[in-house]
Symmetry: C2
């Protein structure tokens, strides 16, 4: 995976969340992470294997995932329930799937593992690789989430 392969993940994040939750997240500038940590309240993680090993993660602030899930479910969800974790995992799975289909059209084939979701206010998430870690902050109403793509160089 290369830096130019990040765009399909940005587009898929916008498309999937817009389609599923009728909320269009606004991407900020992607940046190469110097430190190794993301902080979030709910983090969805999808391991990927292909030309290089990789991991997609999306770390949501509580407010961001609750806004998304409330909109998806059509009712106010105000705490980090199992359904919220499940929805975050499904979103990450769909984002990974859509991005991987776009990469496949570019001749780059990745497979995705089973998504995992860590839920706990203010947890930290690290990806263990010496390769690049690219982070893309997204804004949604008055909160944020961060999509991260780590891959072996």
């Amino acid at each position: 995976m290369k830096a130019e392969h990040v765009n399909p993940f940005i587009n898929a994040t916008i498309n999937v969340i817009s389609t599923m939750a009728f909320i269009k997240p606004v991407p900020g500038k992607p940046f190469l992470k110097k430190d190794n940590k993301a902080t979030g309240d709910v983090s969805a993680i999808v391991g990927m294997t292909g030309p290089s090993h990789a991991t997609l993660s999306i770390s949501f602030q509580k407010k961001a995932i609750l806004a998304i899930v409330s909109s998806m479910f059509g009712e106010t969800v105000d705490s980090l329930t199992d359904d919220v974790s499940e929805a975050a995992g499904e979103l990450a799975n769909m984002i990974s799937g859509q991005a991987r289909r776009d990469l496949e059209a570019m001749g780059v084939i990745y497979e995705g593992a089973i998504p995992s979701v860590a839920s706990g206010e203010g947890h930290e998430l690290k990806h263990i690789t010496d390769g690049p870690k690219i982070a893309v902050p997204f804004t949604i109403a008055d909160s944020t989430f961060t999509m991260e793509l780590s891959f072996e160089s």
Copy 2:
């Protein structure tokens, strides 16, 4: 992946932690999880792809990972630092690698993604699949950790 493929992961967990930390974890009886959650203070996650999609996770109680890491580093570590997360990720990577080599000898080929580590006291971890989730509790001195293997049926 099938239920009988769990044994290489149990053996690898014992071997890697015994070798790296000079502490031999004692496995309890594997069980099929009915609910969908693990609770831990540090959880290492390795996505895997192959004949079916899968995920390995190891959720450590704080006391368990601090005992392991203190023994690995040869000095007392008493809080969940970045080095602790890094070590948990490396252990999971080695466990996944050793188990996958054993599976390969049985003709079952899996690849592993980049490991991710969630750190935060009392977080929950869920794997998003309808397939089986097999959990193996391990005891180490007076604390525990749980190895989980989720895979598509």
